[in-house]
């Protein structure tokens, strides 16, 4: 018996799987997470993986959370330790009173365990080797066997797992039956040899509702399909590659002409990010909806073109799945670290529209909206995802689409309008919103053509190096950016129960951890109003929020508090009133971290009277 009472918890615990990259564990682990969802219990899984194909350690963490806290929690209640390389660290990471599940085929010295945890050994290798002879089968089925054992230990309904296996191997009878066999091998062994269930248990509930379980990158790619993207150019880079791959898969299903079989899209894997954005800009210049997906280093390479898009006013959609930088940084770890790089990307005076979805559902909505915004504003729109949203399955509300919705193609001067004698100046602000009309190449035999340049030109696109002409154009671009403020998704505010002088600003993947942290902070007696920023340029409500509060915490996942810098810079406010709360070690931010950082600062603000302190 451990010398610490074993943790006892129903539908609220964290299981972490420690595996070797390339061992086929990912699908078994994902099935574990899905099986819990089928019990009606929300889960929040996360991949923690190396920049490697095979051999290096990889972890998969499943937070089981009846309350629906989808942020990372921190700490591990049960470790499924399948990787000898990381054994010591994995064992050390278990919460006191937690559980260690391991392959007990080979005896381990007692020094390799801890006294304050419950150790559960299942001879996985022995069971596998006595059943299978093929080495690949041995490896794959070992994963299903531990899934079976866990189902017994955690009191899960095996029928729900069988159902999942049935869906996965539909029509592949042989694989189906052999997987179910493996599942029961592990389950039966546990039931016969171990005390089941343990203190951690999964109990059927109804907290999942109609929510869906999807990765942000796949949702964003689907948003591009629904948003009418027809050209995609990309260059492989983690963690963004799966956007283009998902777009390809979705297009194969939904974008082929049923009669001719021909594709209503074009996808090109560029030779680099320069070519990818060049193709996007060429396609958009010519009137197609085009996008690329990339990550920090790709953004760096694209910046010359991004400046061209801004100045020559060509739509472009860039999905930036952020990862830790600088340079190649930690390519497989999450951060929100490209805020400044994207907001002001390129040389000269530039500003760009950024969208910050909080989860896959918003990634879908914002991805589709990005194409409308890009064509309306004739500029680059960044969809700012990160690895945490992009590459993890996240429980979110179902995706929605209004069939009456038409695409906003922006201000296009057509041949008919030109025939009517409408005055066409490519950079002429006719409506006072800073947005000029454009023509597509090939529109009219004698009217509406113009020469697109990255160098200065007048309102009628005629080359000019006159200072006043240049400044006039730059001022119009400022007006256009002001117009953008009212077109982009607005911030969402949620006020504390009682009026408070304190506020918190956050965005993107921090959302679920922030929501949970609010509860923890309230328990400590701290009241905070919340503002979730969903886009840059900032709506005027951001300035109002700042004015209404003495101190505002800005919670973000980078070292330099980049969103705070942007807020200070764009609103011209006293930086002292904006308190940075930053998390940047490459792991997703947790409620525990936020609550501690803000709570400590709040405690510090509450000055204890001197007399009371000495008495």
């Amino acid at each position: 018996m451990p010398d610490k009472k074993p943790i006892s918890s129903v539908n609220d615990f964290v299981v972490r799987f420690a595996n070797v990259n390339g061992s086929g564990s990912a699908s078994a682990n994902e099935m574990f997470a899905r099986a819990i969802l089928r019990h009606g219990v929300p889960v929040s899984p996360r991949n923690i993986f190396p920049s490697n194909i095979q051999g290096l350690p990889t972890w998969y963490e499943v937070r089981v959370t009846e309350e629906g806290h989808l942020g990372a929690r921190g700490g591990v209640d049960m470790m499924v330790a399948m990787n000898p390389q990381t054994w010591d660290k994995d064992v050390a990471g278990i919460e006191p009173g937690g559980y260690l599940f391991y392959d007990s085929t080979k005896p381990m010295p007692s020094t390799k365990f801890r006294d304050d945890i419950t150790v559960i050994g299942v001879p996985l290798t022995a069971i596998t080797n006595s059943t299978y002879t093929d080495p690949r089968q041995r490896q794959l089925f070992k994963n299903i066997i531990y899934l079976g054992s866990l189902s017994a230990l955690l009191d899960m309904d095996p029928k729900l797992i069988e159902q999942l296996i049935g869906e996965q191997y539909k029509g592949k009878e042989k694989l189906l039956s052999s997987n179910i066999h493996a599942l029961h091998l592990g389950r039966d062994w546990a039931l016969q040899n171990l005390k089941c269930p343990i203190g951690l248990r999964v109990k059927k509930s109804d907290k999942v509702g109609d929510r869906i379980f999807i990765e942000g990158n796949s949702a964003a790619a689907l948003g591009a399909v629904y948003g009418g993207a027809t050209v995609c150019a990309w260059y492989p880079i983690t963690p963004s590659s799966s956007v283009a791959e998902a777009f390809t898969a979705h297009c194969k299903k939904y974008r082929h002409d049923p009669e001719t079989g021909k594709a209503k899209y074009a996808i090109v894997q560029g030779e680099d990010e320069l070519a990818s954005i060049g193709i996007v800009i060429g396609a958009s210049w010519n009137g197609a909806r085009a996008f690329t997906a990339t990550s920090g280093p790709g953004i760096s390479l694209m910046t010359e073109f991004i400046g061209l898009s801004y100045f020559a006013e060509i739509p472009a959609v860039i999905m930036n799945i952020q990862r830790a930088g600088p340079s190649t940084g930690m390519p497989t770890r999450t951060q929100q670290c490209d805020i400044i790089a994207c907001a002001y990307a390129s040389h000269g005076d530039t500003k760009h529209v950024l969208l910050f979805p909080e989860d896959p559902a918003e990634a879908f909505e914002f991805a589709a909206a990005a194409f409308d915004l890009a064509e309306r504003l004739q500029t680059t729109i960044f969809l700012m995802l990160d690895l945490d949203i992009g590459m993890n399955h996240r429980l979110c509300r179902p995706l929605k689409w209004d069939d009456a919705r038409q695409y906003d193609r922006g201000k296009i001067m057509t041949a008919e309008m030109l025939e009517e004698g409408r005055d066409f100046g490519r950079y002429l602000d006719v409506d006072g919103d800073g947005i000029p009309y454009r023509t597509y190449p090939g529109t009219h035999p004698t009217k509406g053509s113009y020469f697109t340049r990255g160098t200065s030109r007048d309102r009628y696109a005629r080359y000019s190096e006159e200072g006043t002409v240049y400044a006039d154009n730059m001022q119009r671009l400022v007006r256009k950016f002001e117009t953008a403020q009212d077109l982009v998704p607005r911030p969402l505010q949620a006020n504390a129960e009682r009026p408070t002088k304190y506020g918190v600003i956050y965005f993107g993947s921090t959302s679920p951890a922030m929501d949970e942290a609010i509860g923890l902070l309230e328990a400590r007696g701290h009241q905070l109003d919340r503002l979730r920023i969903r886009a840059f340029p900032f709506h005027s409500s951001v300035a109002s929020f700042l004015a209404e509060h003495d101190f505002v915490y800005v919670v973000e996942q980078n070292r330099d508090s980049q969103l705070r810098q942007l807020i200070v810079n764009e609103n011209g406010i006293d930086p002292v009133r904006l308190v940075p709360i930053v998390h940047y070690d490459g792991t997703p931010i947790t409620a525990r971290f936020i609550a501690k950082a803000i709570g400590d600062h709040q405690d510090h603000l509450k000055v204890t009277p001197l007399r009371k302190a000495v008495s």
């Binding site: 969802l37 999942v208 109609d210 929510r211 869906i212 379980f213 399909v225 629904y226 009418g228 027809t230 050209v231 150019a233 939904y254 974008r255 001719t260 021909k262 594709a263 209503k264 899209y265 074009a266 090109v268 560029g270 030779e271 320069l274 070519a275 990818s276 060049g278 193709i279 800009i281 060429g282 396609a283 210049w285 010519n286 009137g287 197609a288 085009a290 010359e304 061209l308 179902p398 995706l399 929605k400 689409w401 209004d402 069939d403 038409q406 695409y407 023509t439 597509y440 190449p441 090939g442 529109t443 035999p445 004698t446 053509s449 020469f451 697109t452 340049r453 990255g454 160098t455 080359y463």
Partner: protein
């Protein structure tokens, strides 16, 4: 200068093509390049070729990078949309434009710095993808706008105007284009309009990646003794393999030439190229032969010009991608968006 308006009136008796357009309808703004620049001769050849082909000017998209050559699209086809993009990146912008609307004619204009140095990668990859385009490099071996630095096509041993000898090996874009699978490869000389005009016309008619390297002497920085891209040097070392005529909607005129010296090539768009062979053994359908021929002549210091290779049955990127015939830029939500019923099914599969 471009801000000086070019007078629009012209002689009433000016010849018209099939569409009723005159030469003037294919012109652009007044060139801002140095008087006598080879590039202006290429501009004149492009105008001539488009006039001859009776192309509707606005159905051409002219795309360039940065440099003297890349300025020239402003000087021809004034009723076409032009895009003076980013240094070395014309090929990617053109590729994207082509994907958006397969119905236009794409003319990529670049220089040796733009294509052989900063944009070497994009040059290579647009060729190997088979983008349907006419890619013209106005090759003077020198950086003109920044005043006389060597480019990557400058021959080893050639001298700059300041007397510096180039010690780096030259890149022959024609040889590279052949190796990368361009389906129409030619070289010409800006001073040889009778050869260049039909080559441009044939390249426009070709479906697939057409590449023409045009040696175009820079009269300001690369037209001196010791240069291998000067008017005198090129005239002395030019070795034409063939001369050609492009026949649109007319009967082949093979009869005009002695049998055995004329080869008619029918292109995908129905136009015919009549090749008057100068080198009787030269076969323009033999990629490997063209590469060997080129290398053998380069070793002798000869600049081979003419149509070096053509594959009349070439495929382009749209065929590789199996895209619909309708230009992608005309598709709207009704054909692009799978709709809410499909989304409900997707949602159901994600539970």
């Amino acid at each position: 200068m471009t801000y000086i308006a070019k007078p629009k009136f012209h002689h009433p008796g000016l010849k018209k093509n099939e569409l009723g357009y005159t030469h003037r309808d294919y012109e652009g703004k007044i060139s801002t390049l140095c008087a006598g620049c080879g590039h202006d001769s290429i501009t004149a050849s492009i105008i001539e070729a488009c006039y001859e082909l009776s192309i509707e000017p606005h159905r051409v998209a002219k795309i360039s990078g940065i440099g003297c050559s890349s300025k020239t699209p402003d000087y021809f086809l004034g009723n076409s949309h032009g895009f003076n993009s980013v240094h070395g990146r014309m090929p990617s912008v053109l590729t994207g434009a082509n994907l958006a609307n397969r119905d236009l004619i794409y003319l990529g204009v670049s220089g040796d710095g733009d294509s052989a140095s900063i944009g070497f990668g994009q040059f290579a990859h647009s060729i190997r993808r088979g983008v349907n385009m006419t890619y013209i490099v106005e090759n003077n071996g020198v950086y003109g706008l920044t005043k006389g630095q060597f480019s990557a096509t400058a021959d080893r041993g050639s001298k700059s105007k300041k007397g510096v000898t180039n010690t780096d090996n030259a890149i022959d874009l024609v040889a590279i284009a052949l190796q990368l699978g361009a389906t129409f490869v030619a070289r010409s000389f800006s001073g040889d309009k009778s050869q260049l005009v039909p080559l441009i016309a044939a390249a426009i008619g070709h479906k697939g990646a057409s590449f023409i390297d045009v040696i175009s002497p820079c009269i300001a920085f690369n037209n001196h003794a010791g240069s291998t891209k000067s008017f005198d040097y090129v005239r002395e070392h030019n070795d034409a393999v063939n001369r050609l005529d492009v026949l649109v909607g007319r009967d082949p005129i093979a009869v005009d030439y002695a049998p055995g010296t004329v080869q008619v090539v029918e292109q995908h768009d129905g136009s015919k190229i009549a090749l008057r062979k100068i080198d009787a053994d030269y076969d323009p359908h033999d990629r490997l032969g063209a590469q060997t021929f080129l290398a053998r002549h380069a070793a002798k210091g000869q600049i081979v010009t003419g149509l070096l290779y053509v594959d009349p049955d070439a495929e382009d990127l749209h065929e590789h991608l199996n895209t619909v015939e309708t230009p992608l830029n005309t598709l709207e939500a009704d054909t692009l968006c799978p709709g809410s019923a499909v989304l409900d099914k997707i949602n159901a599969s994600l539970r």
